[in-house]
Amino acid sequence: MTTVTARALIRTEAAGGGRTRLETLRSDPPLTLRQTGPRRVHLVSTGAGPLRGDHLELGVDVAPGTSLEVRSVGATLVLPGLADAPSVMVVRARVGAGATLHFSPEPTVLAAGCAHRLVVRLSLAEDANVFWREEIVFGRHGERPGRGHARFDATVAGRPLLRQDLLVGEETVDDSPAVHGDARCVGSTLIAGPAWAPPAVTDVKRERRAVLGDGWAALPLAGPGVQVCALGADAVQLRVRLRHGEEAATASAPGAPPTGPHRP
């Protein structure tokens, strides 16, 4: 069986009057894109996978002053396949000045035997806004998860905002009370923009306080953003917990633009 390489691209442009136009919507199966609203695109998976050896890339370029919402029709099921190399999904997103990106695909499920690498590079202009949710499910019901490594890099005007690796299915972290505990899925949402900038430092650096719930926390970052992190026994519980955190994060910045969760 052969492996697949695909590169898809979404690009917006300002259409006058504060409106957004989709300047480019380039599908590359199995990464198939459908416009489902004036400023909304759904990722429609065509074919199973990704499988080991596949290399998929999605470029997202949100032009200054425009806004874009990216979702997916269903969960991504990552499967083993025959190749030795891991499957790779790279998302490069750039959000311009005054632009807004809402990115919330359905969960990635790491089926037993898979090896998956997810790489996100999110580059924000100084006053860009973003809502970016990631959910990872440790295997289908009752199975051991495959191996997954997600790397997330977000910068604001070139400065690091959030850099994280998340490992799943590794002996060192599985079942560790320090990492995932007894959770079966993990998720995080980055909500960032000028409204979440920390107050100007005057004398002593004082951290903003997190909001803590059952299995979730809304963590104010050192830079202009909040990360919601959550652990869950299943995808439903994870989503509920993330939503609680997202609401808390949104509430922490009165007057913030509506990057918060819409109903799915």
């Binding site: 949100v62 750039r94 690498r117 690091p160 320090a178």
Partner: protein
């Protein structure tokens, strides 16, 4: 001088730098029943080392490398001037104890020795503002890898205390610059790396000290909190010895991963003139950001062609830190924040 003895001092739990008051999440894990005995603790420590331990090891190695590039340590009271790390990280031990113990079998291509070929080198003469801003940038890289404000606060407190102790034990210009650069206190691994360089340690030794303290503090806390047999717990630490070596090795290797293998030059078309770019004045940042997306040599040329030499030099350092590990541990984040809500806590963190 190869830094081995200094490494022992630096990693000793009796180093008077405030470490004894931190449990690394263990106190809250115990309170919540997530750690109840030696079995849980073993899994806790292993997971902590693979996440927070690796991240702090990499940051410590980066800080050690930066500090060593800066200046020679100044003479302390009654000591001769040191010359060890001042000639750059490449003068670290050519055959460290780690390589000796594991037979050197893993050293083939993993960038484990930090060579001068990779190190962006000493600053251009005469501008300390440059090194101040580099220290801030490295500290910001630590911030970006620490989502939990409770953990950032604990890391800064420990870093501040370590810095005050290290400045008296191993006075150096690098420690002074770091103190000026981050007056509220640098992240602990940043202070640890700078202290290690000032003490004559190589980046690998700084990484090993960071990895080691990332598990020994929590282990000691568990002994106190759960009344565990201290020998049982030290057996757990002994079982982690290989993992500690591997963590330090991986941490150093990550410094030479400045360009991730999956981040090749763009081909899908959205790398053209960039919308939303900051205006002029952010040239160094742009250069650094470019460096993350291109081959290193390309970025260097690119930067040098457009901005002053100082900015290019800074960009080379920045690019070195982009790909440092950021292994997150959601449970540790939740534990750290939960700890703050405990009105009866014994440990700071």
């Amino acid at each position: 001088m190869n830094g081995d003895a200094a490494l022992l001092l630096l990693a000793d739990s009796r180093l008077p730098a405030g470490g004894h008051a931190h449990s690394g999440g263990v106190e809250e894990a115990v309170r919540r029943g997530a750690v109840t005995g030696a079995g849980d603790l073993a899994r806790f420590l292993r997971g902590r080392l693979a996440t927070a331990g690796l991240v702090t090891a990499a940051l410590a190695a980066a800080a050690c490398e930066l500090a060593a590039s800066e200046t020679a340590p100044v003479a302390g009271p009654g000591t001769a001037p040191r010359t060890g790390p001042a000639t750059g990280p490449a003068t670290g031990p050519a055959t460290g104890p780690g390589t000796a113990m594991d037979g050197g079998g893993r050293d083939g291509q993993d960038g484990w020795e930090l060579g001068a070929a990779h190190d962006p080198g000493a600053p251009p003469p005469g501008d300390t503002a440059d090194t101040v801003s580099l220290w801030r940038r490295l500290d910001a890289e630590a911030d970006a890898r620490t989502a939990s404000p409770a953990q950032r606060e604990a890391a800064r407190l420990q870093g501040r205390l370590l810095l005050r102790t290290a400045r008296r034990m191993w006075p150096s210009a690098a420690l002074d610059t770091l103190a000026r650069a981050v007056p509220e206190g640098p992240h602990h691994p940043v202070a640890l790396g700078a202290a290690a360089a000032s003490a004559g340690c190589a980046p690998r030794q700084a990484a090993l000290a960071a990895a080691y303290t990332s598990v020994t503090g929590p282990a000691t806390a568990a002994v106190r909190l759960l009344g565990l047999d201290p020998v049982t717990v030290h057996r757990l630490l002994a079982d982690l010895a290989t993992a500690l070596d591997d963590t330090a090795r991986a941490a150093c290797a990550s410094l030479d991963d400045a360009i991730p293998e999956d981040d090749e030059p763009e081909e899908c078309g959205h790398q053209g003139p960039q919308p939303g770019r900051p205006p002029a004045g952010h040239a160094a940042e742009q250069a650094a950001e470019q460096a993350a997306g291109h081959a290193a040599g390309h970025a260097v040329e690119h930067a040098a062609g457009h901005v002053a030499g100082h900015a290019a030099w800074q960009a080379r350092w920045h690019a070195r830190w982009h790909a440092l590990p950021g292994h997150s541990a959601p449970a540790l984040d939740l534990l750290a924040e939960g700890h703050l809500t405990n009105p009866m806590k014994l440990f700071v963190s």
